[in-house]
Point group: C2
């Protein structure tokens, strides 16, 4: 029945889980259309038919993998963003660090999500309550209080995300432009991790009109 085997967890994750992980990697790297089910099967070390046995179709597998990736992401920021015992300063630091931690491990994730949202914007709206997660958050209220009049506080939210996410989205280009290798670029990212909260706060203070 549903007792499962539970072998050595670290090595043998079971076929189903291995397929999901392989799919996540490949979809993120090559997109939906650019990923063949055979590639997923090979990367997972299983037979092609097994993929359809577990997930019915490529599209269903994609939807599932996408949903879980987004949920993980949302959960991770929701807990920070809605903490009412954290100052805006600390919250900014935590948010940025959280982004960096996630994207350093999965560098393809942000571009993958952006792509999926462009081709299928409905999914974000329906599958996740992202609207309330951000704009209805304590974090957003804190920004509002600090934002000078006549400037839409949403701008500062955009700036925070832009400064944080863009260096990952555009990493290949930026490395070339700056003539940097991987380690040099990582150093730049480390510097940003500290500076971004300062930059954002400086904007909140110095913005005029």
């Amino acid at each position: 029945m549903k007792t499962k085997k539970e072998k050595i967890e670290t090595v043998d994750l079971g076929a189903e889980e291995r397929i999901k992980q392989a799919a996540t990697r490949l979809f993120a790297k090559n997109g939906f259309a650019g990923t063949r089910t055979r590639d997923i099967a090979q990367e997972a070390g299983i037979n092609l038919a097994l993929l359809n046995y577990y997930f019915r179709s490529k599209e269903k597998l994609f939807d599932l993998v996408m949903l879980e990736a987004m949920q993980d992401f949302m959960r991770s920021i929701a807990s920070i963003v809605n903490n009412k015992d954290m100052s805006l300063e600390v919250k900014l630091e935590n948010l940025v660090q959280n982004y960096f931690q996630l994207f350093l491990v999965q560098p393809d994730l942000p571009l993958f999500v952006m792509n999926e949202l462009r081709t299928n914007p409905k999914r974000l709206e329906s599958h996740l309550g992202i609207k309330k997660v951000i704009v209805g958050s304590h974090f957003f209220e804190q920004i509002k209080k600090r934002t000078p009049k006549k400037v839409n506080p949403f701008q500062f939210l955009m700036n925070t995300m832009a400064l944080t996410v863009f260096p990952f989205l555009a990493a290949p280009m930026l490395k070339i432009i700056g003539d940097m290798d991987e380690s040099a670029y990582l150093q730049i990212l480390e510097e940003r991790k500290k500076k971004i909260p300062q930059w954002i706060l400086a904007q909140l203070l110095t913005a005029k009109s």
Copy 2:
């Protein structure tokens, strides 16, 4: 021979040009793998075989279209970035306006370019002299002069691009998060067009350590 017909330029661009334009649109929208040659042919209003007659293969067509898109883009910013009679302030304004103008017409372009560069970073390096265009530019020298010591001036370049490009890359997501329709989002973008140069300059002044 090579006299060509030159009918009414506005309506009939000729098959070759129509294919290129259709390909640009569709590749940008759906990526390489997600675009079928049949779709390009249909969008261009020509027979499928004609595509291969003019461009030999889907991949050749893609390479060509990609190259021209990037060259157009590079040309447009190179002229601004290397103008030695422009203050940093004015240059920032012009750069941002140039980005906005381009991306408002072709909203899919930035994501398309990011994608292509992730899957094929070599192309940027070989096909375009992007390295010198940016880092060797007069603009970059101006930033260097203004950057406080101990902060890598490249960070400010990244910030400029991030604040400018990200709102286009992430437009679908941001519209949902902010619960905005197209026109409301365009208004936000207009506000940014004015504010981004101010924000960048504020960073240059207020950055400490």
